[in-house]
Amino acid sequence: MSSGRIQFLLGRLLKSILVLLAVVVLNFTILRLAPGDPALILAGEQGAADAAFVDQIRKDFGLDRSVPEQLAVYIKSLATFDLGLSFRERRPIATIIGERLPATLILTLTAFALSLLIGIPLGALAARRPHGMVDVALTTVSTAFFAMPLFWTGLLAIIFFSVWLNWLPSYGMMTVGAPLSGLAAFLDLVKHLALPASTLALFYISIYLRITRAAVLDVMGSDYVRTARAIGLPPTRIWREHILRNALLPVITFASLQAGHLIGGSIVIETVFAWPGIGRLAFDALLQRDYNLLLSVFFVSSVVVMAFNFLADALYVLVDPRIEAGASA
């Protein structure tokens, strides 16, 4: 790799770190601006307290220091990759997030894969004959799923598949009280995953379908496709090599954006289906003003977003030589 490219990447890395720092400071400040004092909530839950008692709670949680001081302590511990303890659970945050991460990844990755695998082909299918029967049907259904709130789609799915048909479990990640292992445990997981993952996927399928459809239509009208047709290339080859390949660019851009958010989970889906993931953890932490835990969830997800961005940049550098020129200009 040329020195120009390396320089460009180093610049990007530095930028990412600066942005991350800004995100940390911003999150910290915004959270402290929200009304509500964790010490008061905790005291309130006990039903009675006096000022000295509330002060003691503040001291126990390090809330007795000034906000800039708390921020400094926080950044210092982050720099050593120490996420600290949760206010409420008094357990290491790294452990708490670690417990929830697999559930979130299983859910979001499955939904991600489903939405790509189904959304893109359907979009292409719709675009083959614009305003034809297939297109109208697909666009209408996808618009409906896009417009329906996730919790509503989820509840309908539960009523239909769990209550009426009794095919699939309505909540959780595993059959509670059934000690399964091996293949049986895996199949049990798949059964539990089916509803939440497909509900979440339905939403994204609609998006991929529409993006793909629009992009394909756009490319179909371009000069080089017309030329390809004019010189008599076989239609399947035009589809594969000229239309789809070029139409996928905006789809990939959107997919990389979505990938960055995979780790955040989905609060709505995780709530409706009692899926024990990160989204719900963050939501509960917010309600209880568990600052440390909430900030850490934000931190971890921003690190992932930044990492994906950096990865994308690195890929561009490898693929597109113009970037180097841009960097040295």
Partner: protein, 529 residues
């Protein structure tokens, strides 16, 4: 011959009886109970957290010295017996022998001493407050603990049940001073009928039978699952599809309850809240206009149809209340209470007298209403109150808050009307005092305190005196006077005695045997299979 025959018949009858009893016992034993805990508790250590979810799970793991019957009579738990000296100053508890902690160590008076002298007062303000009534706490031998009080305090017994006087294992805290942050808090070692099997965060808590439980033959259940299901609709579906056996108050909204309770094989009970005595409150900010004027407060009482709140908003689950004392609370005196019937004209007249005349648009005053962010029913109640007050010319604006914001608004007097509900506990001195005793300064500390900023020197005097009065007759007089004053001055409005229904499958037996209801230890619960 005849005698021999009769004896033979008798012995075979006895044998059958024996078989039947052991069969009955065998039928009672075993089985899994599926419950919902919601929201997921932050800890299941009852010694460091007394919130609803923690109490529900933790009460099966940890125990107190006593528990309470539905009539609030004390009943033995870790204490086999007790005595109170006639002067009301000495409380002696004889502790049960042969009890072991879940880690096998023996339970002795050292544990009780540690809990009441060190642990509980450091963690809970209410414990600290009540235990400061004791001059000394001593353990004369391994199985006795004695509390000597500075002055009589008849409410003292109330703090010894599991959720108020959790007995903690002293041997796990040797050398520890910061109890709230102690690593031992994560071990969940109690003396209760159930031990922690597994806590899969976000999914379930599994408790398993403690085979060494002191009450031989109990518990009957093999295990208990507490399912964690964050959405109310999903919880209701989990019950309908048979995944869980019990729904507690708050698991589903009240308007869903009658439907679920009418399903075959399902039963509903309102029992089990005798000890906690929950009351719905409408705090009126006594420190700020317009509710600094008693007539404006009385007008609110007349303007609001509290029957409507019970029947329509809380789905019929609630009882009328006209004063600070729950109907089953000792020393309640209905004859001392001033009642405020729903009467819009009276409300308007009182507002006129308070100088709040209708201005443009008929508006007499504009106030800020802070709803309780605990679910849909509370939001509906706030909306109803807004409409009802609008009808008498008080324009109420509903603030948008979450629990943290609600708590801050109330504890800093930054509101006009605030919704709340509180447990008022058995004895007035434990559950009532802090809501009516005067506070100085800006911050009362918690939403359970005097957040309405009420101040009356006579009330202060009565409450402190009554708390330390050993003679029941004198106490009754004092509390009657208290009820008379506060129902006239209305520092706040009592909207209703809350009724928390529990819906369960009939096969679950002995679910709410004591005054603690589902916060009891479940040693007696069994499943009819």
């Amino acid at each position: 011959m005849f005698l021999a025959h009769a004896l033979a018949r008798l012995s075979s009858a006895l044998a059958v009886l024996c078989c039947l009893t052991s069969l009955a016992l065998a039928q009672k034993s075993g089985g899994t109970l599926n419950l919902i805990v919601q929201p997921e508790p932050q800890t299941i250590n009852l010694g460091i957290n007394r919130l609803g979810p923690t109490s529900f799970v933790g009460s099966k793991i940890y125990e107190g010295l006593i528990t309470f019957t539905p009539k609030l009579e004390p009943k033995p738990a870790l204490a086999e017996s007790w005595s109170i000296s006639p002067d009301g100053l000495t409380y002696t508890f004889n502790l049960r022998k042969g009890v072991t902690w879940h880690d096998g160590k023996p339970f002795t008076s050292a544990d009780a001493l540690f809990s009441f002298q060190k642990f509980l007062p450091a963690v809970f303000f209410r414990s600290k407050l009540v235990l400061s009534e004791a001059e000394s706490i001593t353990a004369p031998d391994e199985h006795t603990i004695v509390f000597k009080l500075k002055a009589p305090f008849p409410g003292f017994m109330q703090i010894f049940e599991a959720t108020g006087g959790t007995i903690m294992p002293a041997h796990l805290y040797e050398g520890v001073t910061d109890f709230r942050n102690a690593p031992a808090n994560q071990q969940f070692i109690g003396t209760g009928p159930f031990k922690v099997g597994e806590w899969r965060r976000g999914s379930f808590v599994r408790l398993v039978k403690n085979d060494n439980y002191w009450d031989k033959g109990k518990p009957y259940l093999k295990e208990i699952y507490f399912h964690i299901i964050p959405d109310a609709n999903s919880r209701s579906i989990a019950f309908e599809t048979g995944k869980v056996d019990v729904l507690r108050a708050g698991d589903v909204e009240n308007f869903d309850i009658s439907r679920l309770a009418s399903e075959p094989g399902v039963e509903l009970t309102e029992a089990g809240w005798e000890f906690l005595q929950p009351i719905g409150y409408l705090h009126l900010n006594n420190r700020r206009k317009p509710f600094s004027d008693v007539r404006a407060r009385q007008a609110v009482a007349h303007a609001i149809d509290r029957k409507f709140i019970i029947e329509t908003i809380f789905g019929g689950f609630g009882r009328e209340i006209n004063g600070p004392f729950y109907s089953s609370k000792p020393y309640r005196d209905a004859s001392a209470e001033t009642k405020y019937e729903f009467d819009v004209e009276k409300a308007k007249k009182l507002l006129d007298e308070a100088g709040l005349k209708p201005g443009p648009g008929g508006i007499r005053a504009e106030v800020e209403l802070v709803p309780l962010p605990y679910g849909e029913m509370w939001q509906r109640q706030a909306e109803y109150v807004r409409e009802a007050l609008g009808a008498v010319g008080i324009k109420a604006n509903i603030a948008s808050v979450d629990v943290a914001g609600w708590s801050q608004r109330l504890t800093t007097f930054n509101y006009d009307i605030g919704h709340n509900f509180l447990y008022t506990f058995g004895d007035a001195s434990i559950g009532i005092n802090q809501t009516y005793l005067s506070v100085k300064g800006d911050n009362t500390g918690t939403t359970g305190g005097n957040v309405h900023g009420y101040s009356n020197a006579e009330v202060d005097d009565i409450l402190v005196k009554a708390a330390h009065e050993n003679d029941p007759e004198t106490r009754a007089k004092l509390y009657s006077r208290f009820q008379q004053i506060v129902t006239k001055e209305l520092p706040l409005l009592w909207t209703h005695e809350m009724v928390f229904p529990t819906v369960f499958r009939k096969k679950v037996r002995n679910l709410t045997l004591t005054g603690l209801g589902t916060n009891e230890n479940f040693a007696d619960v069994w499943i009819d299979q």
